[in-house]
């Protein structure tokens, strides 16, 4: 069972690499998962080529949502905004390396939802953008 709570997930939950804030970020968005009260903000900094040079998240969440956010942000350093637009649900699941029930999928995908809203510069998060 404890597959779901693999070491990598616990490790990124307890010692996240990308937790914090970026001053004068280029892209930012925050959203909530009303189901569990999770709250997540993501901030990105890009260089002149529109490539991510820094990515940070802040907020509260369960081990699945926090580790997914941390793993996701770690994976996007150096990528272009266009690359980020192409990210999908599968990318998150590959990063986590676990299977999730529909309810927990929402936890895992919160960071992707927030990231997509940030890079598309949306006013409101859009679930359709993460189901690709």
């Amino acid at each position: 069972m404890d597959d779901l709570y693999r070491e990598i997930i616990i490790e990124h939950y307890k010692n996240p690499l990308h937790k914090g804030r970026i001053e004068n970020s280029d892209y930012t968005f925050e959203d909530e998962n009303p189901l569990c009260g999770d709250h997540l903000q993501i901030e990105l900094r890009v260089n002149a080529d529109q490539k991510v040079v820094d990515a940070k998240f802040d907020g509260q969440g369960c081990a699945i949502s926090i580790s997914a956010a941390d793993l996701l942000l770690d994976s996007i350093i150096g990528k272009s905004i266009e690359d980020l637009k192409a990210l999908s649900k599968k990318d998150i699941l590959d990063l986590l390396g676990i299977e999730l029930s529909p309810v927990r999928l929402k936890c895992a995908l919160l960071s992707l939802k927030v990231l997509k809203a940030a890079v598309y510069e949306l006013q409101e998060a859009d679930d359709d953008l993460i189901q690709k």
Binding site: M1, D2, L4, I10, C36, G37, Q60, G61, A63, I64
Partner: protein, 407 residues
């Protein structure tokens, strides 16, 4: 006092194995209770032998269905201490019952600048219907504060009553804190101030004896599914004089006396509020549920759960880093919400689930209360007649395992 009520055998679902070979430890009865065989059979029997529409046909089955449906209303009235069963309206659930009051009594009798009072410990179902009215009618909605112990602050309530509220809506028992409110006292105070009262009884009627007539509540709402009955059926009790002066809720069949091309006149109570074919099987199942609970005796249900809750409070408060929300065991029902240091409630619930232990994690439809408590979420274990001290020991072991995973 009994060690167990010995009713486990009445609940077929308790034989279910979860995630391979784990026995089910169901600690989520505040969300919905499990159903005894007698209720399942009553629903099955209605569909197998009686199925027909009520209040319409003059054939054998229609009459039998009507009799069973109306008989359920009478049983439920008696169970909650209501003398006149015509004051018992079938709805879908507690939420719909409260919305019914807001949409009918509220839209007719509340006007600009009127004040309504709710409390900080309410479930969303006793907040949102009032907010909807507030937006439409420019009303003011005030919330009675809770004390640090998780009880209603009666002094604050007394102060709010000086605003001359028209309506006071509050819960009999908090679904998060477990707090049992002094309903009779609150109703008396509200009446003295000239307000009518709406009581959310979703967590009370399943767990201890309730006599609505004695409490002198104006409206009292509860659901079948939290008290051994089917989903999809709930009750709104309303005092006759109030119900008769209220406009109908939904329009359609059964709620009319007469319809012409010029208009309609509404049926008498309770039918005025029961438009369309009702949840007949569910109402009959609800009747069977109150029969079942009456056989055990609500006093026994109450004292057994009290013993269980006291035991659980003792065991849980012995766990390092675990913090229980709400008052001491003396003033609470069988609901214990808690937090565990450094571990999110979702993760707690998920890991417990792997051993077959079902708890609830989240805000339990009480986001404002969690905001007040400064928590994004909590974990809730809730008990009912089929739980035993063994279940609580299993919960303890489960929580130790959760802590180990995160250590």
């Amino acid at each position: 006092m009994p060690n167990t009520l010995n009713v486990q055998g009445d609940f077929p679902i308790l034989k279910r194995k979860i995630h391979n070979e784990n026995k089910l430890v169901y600690l989520d009865s505040a969300a919905t209770s499990q159903k005894p065989s007698s209720v399942i059979q009553a629903v099955d029997n209605y569909y197998s032998n009686t199925n027909a529409n009520v209040h319409r046909g003059i054939h054998f089955l229609a009459e039998e269905a009507t009799e069973k449906y109306e008989n359920a209303r009478k049983k439920i009235a008696k169970f909650v201490g209501v003398g006149d069963p015509n004051q018992i309206i079938f709805t879908r659930n507690t939420t719909e019952s409260i919305n019914l009051v807001a949409r009918t009594w509220g839209s007719k009798f509340l006007n600009d600048d009127d004040v309504i009072i709710s409390t900080e410990m309410e479930h969303h179902s006793n907040i949102v219907p009032w907010f909807s009215l507030v937006q439409e009618k420019n009303l003011s909605l005030k919330f009675v504060q809770i004390t640090s112990e998780g009880k209603l602050d009666i002094d604050h309530f007394r102060a709010l009553l000086k605003l001359n509220p028209k309506l006071v809506a509050f819960t009999h028992m908090s679904n998060v804190l477990g707090t049992i409110n002094p309903v009779k006292e609150i109703i008396e105070m509200a009446h003295e101030a000239g307000a009518i009262t709406v009581v959310d009884g979703a967590q009370s009627t399943p767990h201890f004896p309730v006599s609505i007539d004695e409490l002198d509540a104006d409206f009292y709402a509860f659901s079948a599914h939290k008290m051994c009955g089917p989903t999809g059926i709930g009750i709104l009790f309303g005092k006759k004089a109030l119900l008769e002066n209220m406009p109908p809720f939904l329009g359609g069949g059964d709620m009319i006396k007469k319809v012409t091309f010029k208009g309609f006149s509404a049926n008498s109570i309770p039918y005025k509020f029961e438009a369309g074919t009702p949840a007949i099987a569910q109402a009959i199942g609800f009747g069977a549920a109150v029969d079942y609970l009456s056989t055990i005796g609500m006093k026994n249900v109450c004292s057994y759960e009290k013993e269980l809750t006291e035991y659980a409070m003792e065991i849980l408060s012995g766990i390092n880093g675990l913090h229980i929300l709400g008052p001491s065991a003396v003033d609470r029902g069988g609901v214990i919400s808690f937090t565990l240091d450094h571990i999110h409630p979702h993760d707690i619930a998920q890991i417990l689930d792997q051993s077959g232990i079902a708890v609830r994690a989240g805000h339990h439809c009480a986001m404002p209360l969690h905001e007040k408590l400064g928590l994004p979420a909590s974990t809730r274990a809730s008990f009912y007649i089929y739980n035993t001290k063994n279940d609580i020991d299993d919960l303890k072991e489960g929580l130790f395992h959760v802590q180990k995973v995160f250590s």
